[in-house]
């Protein structure tokens, strides 16, 4: 589901945020979120993801710029009036209340009648498939159950927007996958707008309609997962999202939609030219390991390089090879594992190739 071209629901325009007056934690943030969209904020630690959520929730005020939610300027609305549901990384379930009381809390502070509260709480508990835990304390639930309760509590008052700050960070891998699915299911079912913070890129790619990649308080790229992965805007995105064979070099020529990058004396590769790539400037190759082939028969319109295999790692569904190519080691190739086919041997010299369209030459990022 790509963002429909309707009115934006959440609008950040030119938001700056600084805590100490010197360094920007968010700098000139501008982005829009459509109604019903699932947007992930992805980025390394300290890149300003939580801060962005806090600005939206109202626990931090922007140093400049405006935030709109459903056309309403949020800057002066106190946090408890914003009607934004929030799920915290460590759940923040109130330990002195039962699960049912926790879920009823947002309803009771809104002055809803008790009978109605009870009904809604029961429905929420059904929704998270934990109908029998209402009387328990949060501490008597498992991590995954607590997470579901936190989710139910953030959704029960039908907020227009739900913010989640690394909600699955504390769970183990299997549970995390189950919960990812659960969250997606709820998102589809309720049609609520979600902004989801994570630093797990596969989580971001699998769950989101769009992903915003944060880096030092800026958005490097905001795009659909497919676009982000296959068409990264710059070297940071290419290297941060998924694995990348980021050979660096200097652009020697631009030929139509393609750029030529010299990665070692006498060795040049050709790929789609990214924005801001110009002859004479440094640039980076964006090439996914699974796009590389050992096929001996020459591909049309392809780059051909030779290298040697340093290491082979068995990963079950695929082989992962570490190569030295054009004088750079750490070049990664993934090939699917077919039981009957023997993989290449370590130490073998190999010829690798990939088409011009399977790679991109991107600018070296900022600074």
């Amino acid at each position: 589901m790509l963002a429909p071209a309707s009115e934006p629901f959440v609008v950040f325009s030119n938001i700056d945020k600084t805590f100490d007056g010197r360094t920007y934690v968010a700098s000139n943030l501008s982005f829009e979120v459509e109604k019903g969209e699932f947007l992930s904020l992805l980025g390394p630690s300290g890149s300003g993801k939580t801060t962005t959520l806090m600005l939206l929730a109202g626990f931090e005020a922007p140093s400049s710029g405006t935030i709109l939610l459903g056309k309403r300027r949020l800057n002066d609305v106190p946090p408890h009036r914003r009607d934004i549901g929030m799920v915290f990384q460590n759940y923040a379930l109130f330990p002195h209340m039962t699960v049912a009381e926790n879920i009823a809390f947002p309803l009771s502070v809104r002055g809803m009648a008790r009978a109605e509260q009870k009904q809604l709480v029961e429905r929420s508990l059904d929704m998270i498939e934990l109908p029998q835990v209402g009387d328990r304390r949060p501490s008597q639930l498992s991590g995954g159950q607590q997470q579901r309760v936190a989710l139910a509590r953030a959704l029960v008052f039908e907020p227009r927007l739900v913010l989640m700050d690394e909600p699955l960070g504390a769970l183990d891998k299997n549970l995390r996958e189950t919960m990812q699915y659960e969250i997606k299911r709820l998102h589809h079912r309720l049609g609520v707008t979600v902004i989801y913070v994570t630093h797990d890129q596969s989580e971001a790619l699998t769950m989101s309609d769009r992903v915003a990649v944060f880096h030092s308080g800026r958005i490097e790229q905001i795009a659909s997962p497919k676009q982000l992965y296959e068409d990264p805007a710059n070297a940071f995105v290419a290297n941060f999202v998924g694995e990348n064979n980021g050979l660096t070099g200097e652009v020697t020529a631009i030929e139509g939609d393609y750029a030529v990058l010299s990665v070692a004396p006498g060795i040049a590769v050709r790929g789609r030219a990214g924005a801001g790539v110009a002859p004479g400037h440094a640039a980076v190759l964006a090439l996914r390991p699974e796009n590389i082939s050992f096929d001996k028969k020459a591909l049309a319109a392809a780059n051909h390089l030779s290298g040697s295999i340093d290491e082979i790692i068995y990963c079950g569904d695929r082989w992962r090879l570490h190569l030295t190519v054009a004088g750079h080691n750490g070049f990664i190739v993934k090939i699917p594992n077919r039981t009957a086919t023997a993989p290449p041997e370590a130490g073998e010299p190999v010829e690798i190739s990939w088409t011009f369209d399977d790679c991109k030459i991107v600018a070296d990022g900022r600074g």
């Binding site: 408890h80 915290f88 460590n90 923040a92 809390f105 947002p106 502070v109």
Partner: protein, 416 residues
């Protein structure tokens, strides 16, 4: 087959339980050995003396020890309106003679004075004037020395005082006494002081606790939420009073609260009052002084709990639509209940036994029960009554403990 495997399973469960119990026993022993030194220390310095004092409230050996044969004879006497048998008079004379050789008369006299003023003088005078021998019966001689020996009431008191187990002090400590026919009645209005003193002790302690809570809770909150550097600095201000002697602090208030002291001058300068306000030798002085001394306990108990309450919960509550004040009351305060409970309990119990501060800063109508206990012990020398008052104070404290345990739960108490 089935049965055999069932039996085996049962054996395994039994083995498991036996092993578990053995481990538990070993742990219990280890724990016990670790606390033995403390237990010995406590037994010698605390439990034994306190037990002794409490026992004094129902024991009265001085008179029975001084005049043992008279005491035995009086036990069979039916009481007023008749006088005891002439033999009892003889026995008393003999006992007194022997006792005055051993100096026991004064001790017994002091005890008797607890029953009626002047009894000590009577006993000493009688022992002094007792002829070495007499050919007349002592039932005539003694009333000649003092006519009170001819009154049954004197003998009744002697009989009460000579009995080794006595409810008198326990009754006296709640302004009751036992009449000659064995019924319990309130003492005369003019002598009834202890129930009032208990009520006063309770209300002063409750006031001090409440004031400490109102003053201390916000400070503890501030301490728990400020950045570490400022919080540590503030903490010093809270703890410094702990390093200063109680007497010094109380004396300092003594100076500050005087009619022409610092506080009054300030009030007058600020135009809040025209003439000096009485801040001392009244309830105000007691409350100010005691609150000042006990406030750190309240602050520290709350702080210890608050430090463990994440501010995230309040954020979560606000994000769910609660006004910050509502979030504080419904989400933060309940999580600090163990701290409130601990602080309240600690301050209240400490206040119950307070002594120096009310003695120095209070007036005649602010006497707390500890002051009365001290008065009985070192001025009236009535250890029985002191013990009886202590019994009630201990019971009072235990009641506070159980109430606290019931409402807050002692297991939720954290002090560090």
């Amino acid at each position: 087959m089935e049965r055999i495997s069932l039996g085996r399973a049962k054996n395994r469960v039994d083995d498991l339980q036996a092993g578990y119990r053995a481990t538990r026993r070993r742990e219990a022993w280890r724990a016990f050995l670790l606390v033995v030194p403390l237990l010995v220390f406590l037994a010698a310095t605390f439990i034994y003396p306190i037990g002794k004092l409490l026992l004094l409230s129902v024991r009265s050996d001085e008179v029975a020890d001084a005049i043992p044969r008279t005491a035995a004879a009086l036990a069979d006497w039916v009481g007023p309106p008749t006088l005891p048998s002439p033999q009892t008079f003889d026995l008393l004379a003999a006992d007194l003679r022997r006792a005055s050789d051993q100096g026991a008369v004064a001790v017994a006299g002091r005890r008797l004075n607890n029953y009626e003023a002047g009894f000590r003088t009577l006993l000493l005078k009688t022992a002094r004037q007792l002829p070495a021998t007499s050919d007349r019966p002592y039932s005539e001689v003694l009333p000649e020395i003092d006519k009170r020996w001819g009154e049954p009431e004197t003998w009744r008191l002697l009989k009460r005082a000579a009995s080794r187990d006595t409810p008198d002090f326990l009754l006296r400590a709640i302004d009751r006494e036992m009449t000659s026919d064995g019924s319990v009645v309130p003492v005369q209005r003019s002598q009834s002081v202890y129930l009032d003193a208990f009520a006063r002790t309770f209300s002063i302690s409750a006031c001090v606790t409440l004031i400490s809570l109102v003053l201390g809770y916000p400070v503890a909150y501030l301490l728990a939420t400020l950045p570490a550097r400022q919080s540590n600095l503030l903490m010093i201000f809270v703890i410094v009073p702990f390093w200063t002697s109680l007497l010094v602090r109380t004396t300092a208030w003594y100076v500050l609260l005087q009619p022409n002291g610092v506080v009054n001058s300030l009030l007058i300068k600020l135009g809040l009052t025209g003439a000096p306000v009485a801040l001392m030798f009244n309830r105000t002085g007691v409350l100010i002084g005691m609150t000042h001394v006990l406030l750190p306990f309240m602050i520290l108990s709350n702080y210890a709990v608050m430090r463990g309450v994440s501010p995230l919960y309040q954020r979560a509550a606000v994000s769910l639509g609660a006004h910050p004040v509502v979030a504080f009351v419904r989400v933060y305060v309940p999580q600090t209940l163990p701290g409130i409970g601990a602080g309240t309990f600690l301050v209240f119990v400490l206040a119950l036994g307070y002594y120096i501060t009310p003695a120095l800063l209070g007036g005649a109508s602010d006497e707390m029960i500890s002051q009365l206990i001290a008065l009985q012990m070192d001025q009236q020398l009535n250890w029985g009554l002191a013990g009886a008052l202590s019994v009630y104070l201990v019971l009072f404290t235990l009641a506070a403990y159980f109430a606290f345990n019931r409402f807050v739960g002692i297991d939720r108490l954290r002090l560090g």
